[in-house]
């Protein structure tokens, strides 16, 4: 399914014209042919009979993390970029609203180790305000008691701010108030936002390396070989 078309001889220099259908036997830089391939051949892959230029792959991966689909827009894969942007951000926003806009926050305090945030942060910029809010909360925490000071005033009306400290595992606090108010929505919202972050990890991989291969089962391979005997002699196309 996915083939890297990049194995060019080392003697080929950047910008040298290269025939598309005769890449591996290209004799040297003296030929002048009409099709010019980019210098960085590792960025070119062939998927579904299409050539895809992944361009600067680390940059594409970073952009894909920062904004879901951003890496694909950078690579000119606009349809997939739009698909990812809509699917992931919509999932994220549905979850965020289901949980009363309190399900995404960063905290690693006794009684409130919010490990969910590591997955939620997979959507990139959308989750970053939580870090700013946590930093502000830490500055307004009494170091002797571990309690949030009375003069604490969260930014942006409390958007993605962590709960007031301390958070108890067996007593009432702000987290238990959120649970009581939003019920199952709080739980579902946490799941939705975590799944959105996880999905974006797949998208980051897609921006960096292109689509994943589809495993071909032994039974299907035998069927294909029975119908197309030439397949048995060719290398794997998985």
């Amino acid at each position: 399914m996915v083939q890297n078309t990049g194995a060019l001889p080392e003697r080929i220099q950047a910008g040298t014209p290269v025939p598309l259908d005769d890449r591996d036997s290209f004799p040297g830089p003296t030929l002048s042919l009409p099709i010019v391939m980019p210098a960085d051949r590792d960025s070119l892959i062939e998927v579904d009979e299409r050539l895809v230029d992944l361009k600067n792959r680390p940059l594409a991966a970073f952009l894909a993390w920062l904004i879901p689909g951003g890496g694909h827009f950078y690579q000119g894969r606009h349809a997939k970029g739009t698909l990812y942007l809509v699917c992931i951000l919509l999932t994220w926003m549905i979850g965020f609203s289901l949980g009363g806009y309190h399900v995404v926050y960063a905290s690693w305090q006794p009684g409130d180790k919010r490990w969910h945030y590591f997955l939620q942060a997979g959507v990139g910029a959308a989750a970053l305000p939580a870090l700013i809010q946590t930093n502000r909360m830490n500055r307004f925490m009494d170091p002797r008691t571990g309690w949030t000071r009375d003069d604490y005033d969260p930014l942006w009306g409390g958007f993605m701010s962590p709960p007031h400290r301390p958070v108890f595992e067996d007593n009432t606090d702000q987290v238990s108030a959120w649970f009581a108010r939003y019920g199952a929505g709080y739980e579902m919202g946490t799941w939705y936002t975590m799944i959105a972050g996880l999905l974006n990890i797949l998208v980051i991989y897609d921006a960096y390396s292109g689509p994943l291969g589809i495993p071909i089962s032994g039974r299907k391979r035998r069927q294909d070989e029975a119908t197309q005997p030439n397949l048995a002699e060719s290398p794997s196309t998985a």
Partner: protein, 63 residues
Amino acid sequence: MLSISSTYLLYYIPLVVAISLVYGGTRHEDMRLVVTHAFYTAYWITAFMGIIFAILWMMGRFV
């Protein structure tokens, strides 16, 4: 039969749509193949969850 309201099952719909489309997108470049793969993934997820539901339902009823 269910210990929760059946409206909770509606949460499943946007989730399976998003997961299927993104998963299909990470396997293909052609959008028609993406959609085809997404349908297959949604079908597979639904069937898998249906089987788990049936097992749990039978355990709750007969065990």
